[in-house]
């Protein structure tokens, strides 16, 4: 469970299990992702505003891949939806999906920061 009784946005157990024996890299990965995340979101926003669907598909695919390393299913689903819309160049309003995606990414960002803080405190 995350803060305020909210279910965590990523599966910490699965994530740490994957880094068994190399736990330091798990924390480095979280830090690296958090530093790259603003750029990933910006890339998506730019592609959406310029209606560049090919570029949007690539950017959404990259984000989907990155969040999937954390077993962050809600964020992964949203990124996948965006990727599909960009691929088909039609579907649900892109802006709505973007709002939902950013909301999930905000949750993920918070939970990863908590994850890192707990490690620093330990």
């Amino acid at each position: 469970m995350g803060v305020h009784g909210r279910v965590s946005s990523f599966d910490r157990d699965l994530f740490m299990r994957n880094f068994h024996g190399i736990e330091d890299l798990a924390y480095e990965a979280a830090q690296s992702f958090l530093s790259l995340l603003p750029g990933m979101i910006l890339a998506i926003e730019i592609k959406i505003s310029s209606r560049e669907f090919d570029g949007l598909q690539i950017a959404a695919h990259a984000l989907k891949g990155a969040v999937s390393n954390f077993y962050a299913e809600p964020a992964r689903q949203m990124a996948w939806k965006l990727e599909q819309i960009a691929h088909q160049q039609e579907g649900e309003p892109i802006e709505e999906i973007l709002v939902q995606l950013k909301s999930e990414l905000l949750c993920l960002e918070k939970d990863l920061n908590i994850f890192l803080m707990e490690r620093s405190a330990a």
């Binding site: 994957n18 480095e28 690296s32 690539i58 695919h61 990259a62 990155a66 999937s68 390393n69």
Partner: protein, 232 residues
Amino acid sequence: MLGKGLKYFSYGKVSGMMGKVILVVEDNEFDRNLLVQVLSKKGGFQLLEASSGEECLEIIRNKKIDLVLMDIMMPGVFGDLILTKIREQYNPIQLPIIMVTSKIEVLDVVDCLQRGANDYITKPVQFDVAMSRVTTHLMLSDLSHEMSKMKEMAALDGLIATYNHEINNPLLIAMSCLSLIPNKEGEIFEKLRGALWRIADIVKKIKELANQKEVEYSQYAEDSMMIKLKKN
């Protein structure tokens, strides 16, 4: 970009795998860096990186690579087309290629396997699985090379045995006849004696090849090679 691609990470963790060079081809910087870091920490590999198919081909042209880990879906030229280009030069034994794919692209996996990929792993990459598959394919490649060498030596052994048997008998007859020639002087006799002893010496050296673990070759004619024999 090529300069950026040439990063070496080497840790000696997996027995027999030290010095093996793995090329990770992935356009997503985060995924690529993560895989490189994990493989370097868990295994005993040297890691190279490419962020595109074109960069991958450039590195393969210039460096000896032992295994390629390649994302199927990359911008520009897709991984499956790069795979086809690599297979025009290297077969699956010479250069194992493991494709990395999201679950949704599993249908593309069949296409890649038909194009010559050795194996695939799905995203999110489970690192122990990736390590096992990388190690297995590197070992299979090494084993195949060893077996090829063994087959080559076995064929050579057979040839040497046949050659010795077929050449020795007439050679002995010729040398016996030579010893029976009454007039053992003269240029022709000396040339004949020299030539027969030279044949005997070569037969002896060819027999010694059977004790060697591998043979060296040198260019003979335009399209053929000859085995190097030990000099006196």
